[in-house]
Symmetry: C2
Subunit: 321 residues, 2 copies
Amino acid sequence: MKNKYLPKFKKILLFGLNKENLGQEEVKKLGNLCKQKIFLEKDSPKLFGELNDTDCLLVNQGMTVDKKMINNAPNLKFIGILATGYNRIDTVYAKSKGIVVCNIPGYATESVAEFVFGLILEHLRNLEKAKQISDFGDFSGNGFNASEIKNKEFGVVGLGRIGSRVAEIALAFGARVSYWSRNRKKNIEKKGINYKPIDTLIKKSDFLSLHLSITKETVEILNKKRINLIKKGTIVVNVAPMELINLSGLINRLKKGDMTFIFDHPDEMEKKDVEKLSRNRNCIAYPPIGFITNEASAFKKEIFVSNISNFLEGRPSNKVS
Amino acid sequence: MKNKYLPKFKKILLFGLNKENLGQEEVKKLGNLCKQKIFLEKDSPKLFGELNDTDCLLVNQGMTVDKKMINNAPNLKFIGILATGYNRIDTVYAKSKGIVVCNIPGYATESVAEFVFGLILEHLRNLEKAKQISDFGDFSGNGFNASEIKNKEFGVVGLGRIGSRVAEIALAFGARVSYWSRNRKKNIEKKGINYKPIDTLIKKSDFLSLHLSITKETVEILNKKRINLIKKGTIVVNVAPMELINLSGLINRLKKGDMTFIFDHPDEMEKKDVEKLSRNRNCIAYPPIGFITNEASAFKKEIFVSNISNFLEGRPSNKVS
């Protein structure tokens, strides 16, 4: 009922998005928010022609929206990204043209936080091997050993949404949890999660989980010097972008065999770099499946669509420019 | 210094225990608590001869101490078990002879509770498969899906030490946690963990974790009727003895393919029963590695030795008869 009186977009252009990755129901909802909608594949030659009368551009994760595209869309008012990261969108130029850009922050907080503990516990308890030897009928448990999260020093680098949840869950496991973040978070400190300077945090932690986004300040925040501060036996988990870490420093440290590194974004790296990392048995690569729960996926689509309707209602949500 | 003035045992007989499973240091400590110590293998023919002047009998997990053994140990004052369970010790007969029996409760609480979440998250996130396809260089993440613990109904059957920790950790993951236990636990209910009658709990839970010990009342507490109450899609974890569950009922339910069963005590079952279970792809067997962390193992040995010295000091700890 409400939508009837709402302004609508003239034309929504869905770029790199289709019914499969967006979902039948969401596509239907978008239909109520515009007079016309067009789906275009990633490298479609029709792109610039279609952009001309587009007032709403929706793009999939990893898609580029540059000056040239924006210049070819004189009627554009809104860009929506089906992702948290928007570093391939020229948001500064969009802003200069009066175009609002919205992203989807925090949709996968729980998904990623739970994943971190999956990775840690899988490694601590050697679950892959345990399942495999069970499949062969060996139920002796011989040759297994393990250690606990409880009473260990658990360090969280970056206390945003995901980092905070990781810290809280680690606390419930009985770890001694500390964090470093650009800003002190007094609320979370009240729960018994202590602030430490980054070098101290890295030096003391038995578990170290990285939860920073990429900015000028955070690129290679784990530099060579800091990588060598990591304690022997520490398990480092990085479900954030690998740009946080100096790669050659990490590879050199891994060669010593005295710590473990677990990550889930080999997909965003050069193949040769992944190979250099993976040569080390103490480096465990996962596919990028941290953020993919059904719940996260549903929530993401929900926010994506509500960003659009909120903009139409004159109160844009999740604006990044 | 203190030990110098303590009474000592005349002869400690270590049955099925050796320097390897007990540890060099603990064996040394035992040396300070007795005048003589003897190690005997499980099926040693020397057993009855050696029992005659034994006043302290220490046995490994799973060893039997029956009437015949007790009758052959007229000087026996103390039986110590390197385990929690003592169902193979004739504690009633031991008591009738004035023999104190001590066990080691709760040493593996954290070890087992953490393991439960390892099993759940490994399954939810398909980590075994993820590691394997990564090893083959496939970093696409295609074909993976997952669901979260958060906001799900998490049921704990049996709220002893381990059950309580599992409930607390599930709460930190953001689950709605309920329990059934023989006795209401008001303290834990204050934390937001709700009591439910057992049938309701089984009917409502998306995750169901069993944490009961075996007694007359708990044998097959998950009977055929209750097994069929389990919701579609539920993940049942049993790191407790399999005697809690009616096996043919479980096998029939698993055949339907609409729930998942994860357990870690195939070692205590008939081989043919394990095979019947394992034929179902929705049944996941692990070796018995829930209680084996280094921390649990160290704590276990510590309590084992302190039970002995406490008895000698006239204040026995962890008496079971």
